[in-house]
Amino acid sequence: MMCIFSAACILLLALPLLCPAGQAPFEPALSPYDRHILYQALVLFWIGIIGLIVIIVMKLKEAKRTQGMGVHQDEENAPFLD
């Protein structure tokens, strides 16, 4: 059931890609150099995204570790330190 649903979801998300938006008499006026810079920026963008994801995953693991130890929960009746 899960496999069928996952396959259908992937197909659903890919559907917009399958259907072209139409002919394009007007395309952005980009020189080959502009295009090169753009793809370079895209690669850097992805490196940034992957870096952020790695940091978030590390933070998540750390949160799970502290939760496993039970130190994240507030202790009731804990004395206040003035």
Partner: protein, 354 residues
């Protein structure tokens, strides 16, 4: 120092701790199908992207039949990075609709609509209608040949609804045919009416999610793992999904910039082999299944009535499916949900291949 004073100023006036407490005490169920919980957040993220890019485009778009097309061409060719923002808006719309359909089918299959979440289902269903209309109205604004024909077909299809068809068609078109009046109306729908409605509906939907909490599928009731805190666990996972989506969106915008066809000519005949946007293909394909006349009645009207009844059944499913509300399996409704999903995907693919 300034930050601290600002914080003190706010905490003196508002109970910020209540929000902190809510975040700390909010737990999300953990089970085999928990991935479905991220589809709602993903749709919300794409909505925000649409709002931001749409606001930027609205600064340069001219909603007049004589200038609309040229203003889009200018955005694409003259405005610095204009093509990129338009492409983000175009692909954002495609992904938002795809993500909302995934969210819809996930909740339909997992029966997340069952008691007491009927209103969540209703608000979500209204949101699908609003989003599809968002797509349709935005598509028309480019005023190219394909969009013009698509709107003529779509509003004509709405005109085939029994009893209310004619007034609905005239209301949408602002007259008998698709003209400048239609463009004005669709622009008003796209930039003011629909955003207002969607803000209210999304707000209500999110509020109801907070009230009821996440739904757990019946099959997973006794197989749940330990619930995980929303903050930071689920929030971090949401962030990862949003970042990946942002990456895919920007890549699509850069590699496949949004295109625009030739300018619409209201007097010209409809071009051949024209197809609607992908999310209308299953409807388009269904219309093709019906002959022009059935037992002396208009075939298109019967097709539109059958489609409307199918949509109405899906809308009212939480009220029909009493067994799942009582916590018992309801295979008939599971088969109905699978049928809806398979029909949508198969008809869309057939529509694309034809």
């Amino acid at each position: 120092m300034i930050c601290r004073r600002c914080r003190d100023w706010i905490t003196e006036r508002y109970d910020v701790d209540a929000l902190r407490r809510l975040l700390r005490t909010k737990y999300v169920p953990s089970h085999r199908y928990e991935i479905s919980y991220f589809t709602g957040g993903l749709t919300l993220f794409l909505f925000v992207v649409q709002f931001l890019t749409g606001m930027g485009l609205a600064l340069y778009y001219v909603p007049h039949s004589e200038h609309a097309y040229k203003s889009i061409v200018d955005i694409m060719t003259k405005l610095r990075m204009g093509w990129f923002f338009r492409s983000l808006h175009h692909w954002g719309a495609q992904l938002a609709i795809a993500s909302l359909f995934v969210h819809f089918f996930a909740n339909l299959l997992l029966k997340a609509y069952r008691k007491p979440r009927e209103l969540l289902w209703v608000t979500g269903f209204i949101m699908i209608t609003v989003l599809v209309f968002f797509g349709l109205s935005g598509y028309f604004l480019i005023w190219d040949e394909r969009a013009f024909t698509a709107i003529r077909v779509a509003t004509g299809g709405a005109g085939s609804l029994p009893l209310i068809g004619a007034p609905v068609k005239i209301f949408l078109r602002g007259g008998i045919d698709v003209t400048q009046e239609t463009l004005t109306r669709f622009y008003a729908f796209h930039v003011s009416v629909l955003p207002m409605i969607s803000l209210v509906i999304i707000g209500l939907h999110v509020l109801l999610v907070q009230v009821h909490g996440m739904s757990v599928p019946l099959s997973q009731k006794n197989r749940q793992k330990e619930a995980q805190p929303f903050f930071p666990n689920v929030f971090y996972k949401d962030l990862i999904v949003w970042l990946l989506c942002a990456g895919v969106l920007v890549t699509l915008a850069v590699v496949f910039p949004a295109a625009i066809g030739t300018k619409a000519d209201p007097m010209a005949p409809a071009p051949e082999n024209i197809k609607p946007e992908w999310y209308f293909l299953f409807l388009f394909q269904t219309l093709k299944l019906f002959p022009g006349e059935i037992a002396g009645l208009n075939g298109e009207m019967i097709a539109v009535t059958v489609i409307s009844l199918g949509v109405l059944f899906a809308f009212l499913m939480p009220f029909f499916d009493r067994r799942s509300s009582a916590g018992r399996p309801s295979p008939v409704f599971t088969y109905a949900a699978v049928f809806y999903l398979v029909y949508f995907v198969v008809m869309t693919v057939i529509g694309f291949l034809n």
